[in-house]
Amino acid sequence: MGKETKKIKIGLPRALHFYKYHISWEEFFERAGFELVVSPLTNQEILKKGVNLAVDESCLSLKIYLGHIDWLKDKVDYIFIPRIVSLHKKEEACTKFMSLNDIVRNTFPGLKIIEYTIDANKFRFEFFKILRTIFSLKHNPIRILQAYYYAKKKQSDYEKARIEEQTSKIKNKDPNKPMILVVSHPYTTYDSLLGKPITKFLESQGVDILYADIVDIKEALEQSKKISKDLYWTYNKELLGAIEIYKQYVDGIIFLMVFPCGPDALVINLCQNKIKDIPLSVITLDELSGEAGLKTRLESFVDILKIKKKKNGKK
């Protein structure tokens, strides 16, 4: 057994579901004895590459994803792409997550991919699927099982810690500062070109931010039914539930949506028609969004919230 001679290199594109699950992925592959390469924060070059590679009408998030794969493709042996059809019975993920693997294969013929499918309506055990795939590369079952266990644990600890942090933010909030709930998919919220500039700017305007993706998922899925009964996209349900949970603490809600996003377009419209007691703002991001116009919009939204806050005096 060639010890440490050549570790297999696994590439993780820093985009899409990476933002949700990366803690466990990184932990798993490192513990299992692989070398990890994570693509850098999205930059202009990655974006440009992705835009060129993707079919025109794809959502911006997918374009960025392809840009990251392009960055990784010559630096690693395999790219890790889980395929998500459904996480809970009778629910679905956006179709992008079920077609990602084939889109990548067709865009980069010959690329080597490690993949497995999660489909709550069909297979019970995501677990076995991953293991089988990994066993074929590394023949050390105990190490892999251990890695899996620690990965899951680390992820769930991390999520708990984030929720706690957000809860204490609410507890200790400055009554004079407006608080805004940012509602968007984590790969939009935390992307260095999409959400990050926006949240940074908001903070510079003296606003406290809550993030809708930081939430107890079980509770959120339950709460989402108060706004929408029929919704079946899991990730959107989580965000809707978070709105229900955090609504009482915030002065305004900002939706960030990339263009063109199928699920968000409908869900946000539903929110606009149903949530009438809190100011909402919807910001659509595409590859051409100019920063200047955006800032003016954010500024005036924050101004409205501040004025309202003064009037009401309380909270």
């Binding site: 079946y232 377009a265 028609n273």
Partner: protein, 364 residues
């Protein structure tokens, strides 16, 4: 006992000519069926005005149909369908319409077409009906669908070659009129005989070896000619024989056979797809690849702008087209699509296919 003056008027959106087929079924749930006015520019303008901007175009057409039907007095609306977003259309549309101040009851059949469920649902709403009557009506509607598909399939392959412009369409109208009046299954079989006969006798002149093109893509824009600017007719006029494989019959067939179709399409889609890519995307790729192997001259792929499963399919189609030098023409429809643009692109595509055909035959 009917509540005083509370006449139930039911309506549902158009798609191609299928409204005629589903009318008897809808009638089980209400006293009267309101047919939304035929789709026009106004329909799509209304729909677009009140829809979220990035909703896909079928959403906007459906919403336009609903508004026009409500204005005609409908008080029960039905939304059904199974595209990737169709399942969620209903709730969003219901809220939009309520916010506009309309009063109505909204029925949703979402992603779910089992006959038993539908009949149970009908029984629940109208307990006086017997299950026998319900099943019979479902069957009747289904056979109407089949008949429409049969007639239209013939039309599609021949309309481009008619000698006298308008012959086929005139007869289609007559057919639909009679279909609307048909009472039972016997009527349907008479109609079928009569119109197939009539259509076959319409003079056409078809070239020996016409260019054959398959049309694939998203269901709604495939099946609603207004939304695709009559693309099939446009192709036909240029002497292209158009083959379409998807219709409501084929979808129903798929449902009754547990997706056997879809599974076989995944096989046909190899090596371009390994997994399903959502709604009809898999079929688009599988069919395109199959037709390519069968020697079709080209493929036309249609979809609403931003349609997710079909955009997913395009990465596979792009690669197939490149690897095999196989012509594929893509159309995306939204409320701003211009008809002239479509015509020019079809023309260019036709010229290209002609040249390729000539070149290929010369090589042989």
């Amino acid at each position: 006992m009917e509540k005083n003056n509370n006449i139930k008027k039911i309506s549902f959106p158009h798609m191609g000519n299928y409204f005629y087929a589903l009318k008897p079924l809808a009638l089980l749930l209400a006293d009267e069926v309101i047919m939304p006015p035929p789709i026009t520019k106004k329909t799509i303008e209304l729909g677009t005005k009140h829809s979220p901007e990035s909703a896909c175009i079928p959403f906007k057409y459906n919403l336009g149909n609903f508004i026009e039907a409500l204005d005609l007095g409908a008080n029960i609306l039905v939304q059904s369908g199974g595209g990737c977003r169709f399942g969620y259309y209903g709730e969003v549309q219901e809220n939009i319409l309520k916010n506009l101040g309309y009063k109505f009851e909204f029925l949703k059949f979402v992603n779910d077409f089992s006959i038993i469920k539908i009949s149970k649902y009908i029984k629940l709403n109208n307990p006086e009906l017997s299950y026998f009557k319900i099943f019979k009506t479902i069957l009747f509607s289904y056979l109407r669908v089949r008949l429409i598909d049969k007639i239209e399939a013939y039309l599609r392959m021949n309309i481009g070659f008619e000698v006298k412009n308008g012959d086929f369409e005139r007869n289609l109208k007559l057919f639909l009129n009679e279909l609307d009046k048909s009472k039972n299954i016997l009527d349907l079989s008479k109609l079928k005989k009569k119109y197939l006969e009539i259509l076959k006798n319409i003079p056409t002149k078809k070239p020996q070896n016409p260019i054959r093109v398959g049309i694939v893509g998203e269901l709604y824009v495939l099946m609603e000619p207004f939304s695709n600017f009559n693309i099939e007719k446009e192709l036909g006029r240029r002497g292209i024989e158009v083959h379409r494989f998807c219709s409501v019959s084929s979808i129903l067939h798929d449902i009754f056979t547990f997706d056997s179709h879809t599974k076989s399409f995944l096989k046909h889609a190899a090596p371009y797809l390994k997994y399903h890519i959502g709604a009809h995307g898999t079929e688009s790729v599988g069919l395109a690849n199959k037709l390519r192997k069968q020697g079709f001259d080209g493929i036309i792929h249609v979809k609403p702008f931003g349609c997710m499963p079909e955009v997913n399919a395009m990465s596979a189609l792009h690669r197939m087209a490149k690897e095999h030098n196989f012509p594929i023409l893509y159309f995306s429809f939204d409320s701003q699509t211009s008809e002239t643009g479509i015509k020019t692109r079809i023309e260019a595509f036709y010229d290209m296919l002609m040249m390729k055909k000539k070149r290929d035959t010369m090589q042989i």
